[in-house]
């Protein structure tokens, strides 16, 4: 606990001292370029002390890497099989490789079964020869009580003669924690190499339909390690994570009408949040976790209300003559994006929560719904109807440029990764619902999630885990 706290501080302070230079071009429709200055990347622990002493001279060592989505421009890394990894029942390095590959930013260079022990500096020239710009060394160490430690370090192969260590860490795990440990190592590598926090050690919620049974599931961000939270004979829709990741709000039809529940995942306790006459739906947590926006019909058609997280104090947020629904808060809590048909067709609007002013956001096309802002406030993902069907689009909120990111015909329920770089959405393959991710920067890197289940829908990406 204590160590972890220190570690958190450490990451934070390193970011403030040595944040890598990231530049993303505004035009999301074209490939974005991420310039990474490896020279200003982070050093860990002992190395940090040295960095503080000799800080300032690093910029001249900068290696600039452009990543723009073409396979020949991906960031080449070597993530070998961990030394002594055979002592674990399940491979951690496979999880790391799969995460990095799925992000669409990295090219994994295969060196076969060769391991690179963490205790030795690898032959960086040889690794560079194989095309890698960064290489991980890692060793699995068995400790007492059937537990293990993963010792790992990340090297910059282009700086073999100066200070090639980008950082490293020891992670402790029990064998069954192999997936989350792999996700955390992948997050570490991702952040070191991009300067942006990773998102692999996060969870997603989604709804699985199996014949006439519905289950609300929680899984790792890659769709593995699934756990059911709720089983029902009636539909469950619109899961929404509380900002602390401890609770889910969702709509259940178990009483033959839509009612909003709040469900605490650790205990399985659930209670009705909104069960007014008519329909209750579309819960959206305010960033402070103390209240939610919900859609109620107790006064007629669907309208947006604010309600306290304990279900008290429902009050109407605004009044329109038509449908207002699908509210979503900006991270700063000042704006609520929503869908409304006030202009005739469903379009996306935003409300200034304090001032009450409403502004229309989408103008292209006759069907734009399900607004979901990114945590960094720069982008808005939504569902749009095109000639080819329903697809996921992203709007750059400053340049107002739109990019349609997906290309099948029934894509819906977009949800941003907490680092704002990926979008999780529901699609249909062979008449079955599946989940997929697409990079939010317009590079169009798409991956299907490896959920084996019959029919899945309504994904929601959870917050960063503390």
């Amino acid at each position: 606990m204590n160590l972890y706290f220190v570690f958190s501080n450490y990451i934070f302070s390193v970011k403030s001292v040595h944040a890598p230079y990231i530049h993303t071009m505004n035009n999301i429709a074209t490939s974005s370029r991420i310039h990474i200055m490896l020279g200003s990347l982070l050093r860990l622990a002992c190395a940090l002390v040295i960095v503080f002493m000799s800080v300032g001279a690093r910029a001249q060592d900068a290696l600039e890497i452009n990543i723009d989505g073409h396979s020949d421009r991906l960031f080449p890394v070597i993530i070998p099989v961990f030394h002594n990894e055979g002592s674990l029942p399940n491979s951690v390095s496979e999880v790391v490789r799969a995460d990095l590959k799925r992000s669409g930013l990295f090219e994994l260079i295969d060196i076969g079964p060769m391991t690179l022990p963490e205790s030795r500096e690898p032959d960086l020239a040889a690794m560079a020869q194989r095309g890698a710009n960064a290489v991980l060394t890692a060793t699995v160490v068995a400790t007492s009580g059937g537990r293990y430690e993963i010792h790992f370090r990340l090297f910059d192969t282009t700086r073999a003669t100066s200070n090639p260590v980008l950082g490293g860490m020891i992670m402790r795990m029990s064998p069954e924690e192999y997936r989350m440990t792999g996700h955390r190592i992948a997050d570490y590598i991702y952040e070191k190499l991009t300067g942006i926090p990773g998102y692999f050690a996060t969870r997603i919620a989604y709804v699985l339909k199996n014949n006439q049974r519905y289950e609300l599931h929680i899984a790792d961000s890659d769709g593995m390690n699934t756990q059911p939270a709720l089983r029902s004979h009636e539909s469950i829709i619109s899961p929404a994570w509380s900002p602390d990741g401890q609770r889910l709000a969702y709509v259940s039809f178990e009483e033959q009408k839509p009612i909003v529940y709040v469900h605490t995942l650790a205990t399985g306790q659930r209670r009705k949040l909104a069960s007014f006459k008519g329909s209750n739906s579309a819960p959206a947590w305010a960033p402070d976790g103390k209240r939610l926006a919900v859609v109620l019909t107790k006064d007629g058609l669907s309208q947006i209300y604010l309600i306290n997280a304990d279900g008290s104090g429902a009050r109407r947020l605004m009044t329109s003559s038509g449908i207002d629904t699908e509210p979503a808060w900006s991270t700063d809590g000042q704006t609520i994006y929503f869908t409304s048909d006030r202009s005739g067709s469903p379009q996306i609007y935003r409300l200034n929560v304090a001032g009450g002013g409403v502004e229309r956001i989408t103008f292209e096309g006759s069907y734009n719904v399900t607004p979901r802002p990114s945590a960094d406030g720069k982008k808005l993902a939504y569902m749009t109807r095109t000639d080819g069907g329903f697809r996921i689009a992203v709007l750059d909120l400053s340049s107002r440029q739109v990019a349609v990111l997906t290309d099948s015909s029934r894509d819906e329920s977009p949800s941003f990764a907490p680092n704002s770089n990926m979008i999780l959405y529901a699609t249909v393959t062979g008449n079955k619902g599946t989940l997929a991710t697409v990079s939010a920067d317009g590079r169009g890197v798409k991956q299907r999630l490896s959920i084996q289940a019959a029919d899945v829908r309504d994904p929601a990406w959870g917050p960063m885990q503390k």
Binding site: Y10, M180, A266, K277, T325, V369
Partner: protein
Amino acid sequence: MKKLLVPSLMVFALAACETDDQKNAAIVDDAVGAQKTNVVPVDPPGTRTSDNLPDSLKGSSVFFDYDSYVIRTDARSTVEAHARFLAQQPSRKVTIQGNADERGSREYNLALGQKRAEAVRRALRLQGANDTQIEAVSMGKEHPRCTASTESCYAQNRRGDFVYLR
């Protein structure tokens, strides 16, 4: 902020260096912070039924045109029959469940289903049913009667269902 953090970090980093100078020493214990979830089963309800209804009212629905929320001419007699029944039986209560076809987002379809249920509710009220007898709700696209992606199927799913409480 930065200045405050640096000394404590250096202390930490140096402390770590005591054991092994080369070892990079931030340690994360218990990689899995995720708690286990308890699965909650929801039992089927047994409260709603169409028992002891006149046969003419059992299982009846009203259908809507695409993108439309007005009760069609061919549905008027059905609505009238329900309104008459409710007016004669003031203790009976009905839920109008509005439905939408599968195209589009679940929540927007929920709102469209509500619009259909609301149209039926108003018609019932105009024809003599009491407000307290009726609840208009939406099932969105969650209760399709037909699951193929065809227009004839969609037409069966754009409907309002009458569900009576016992």
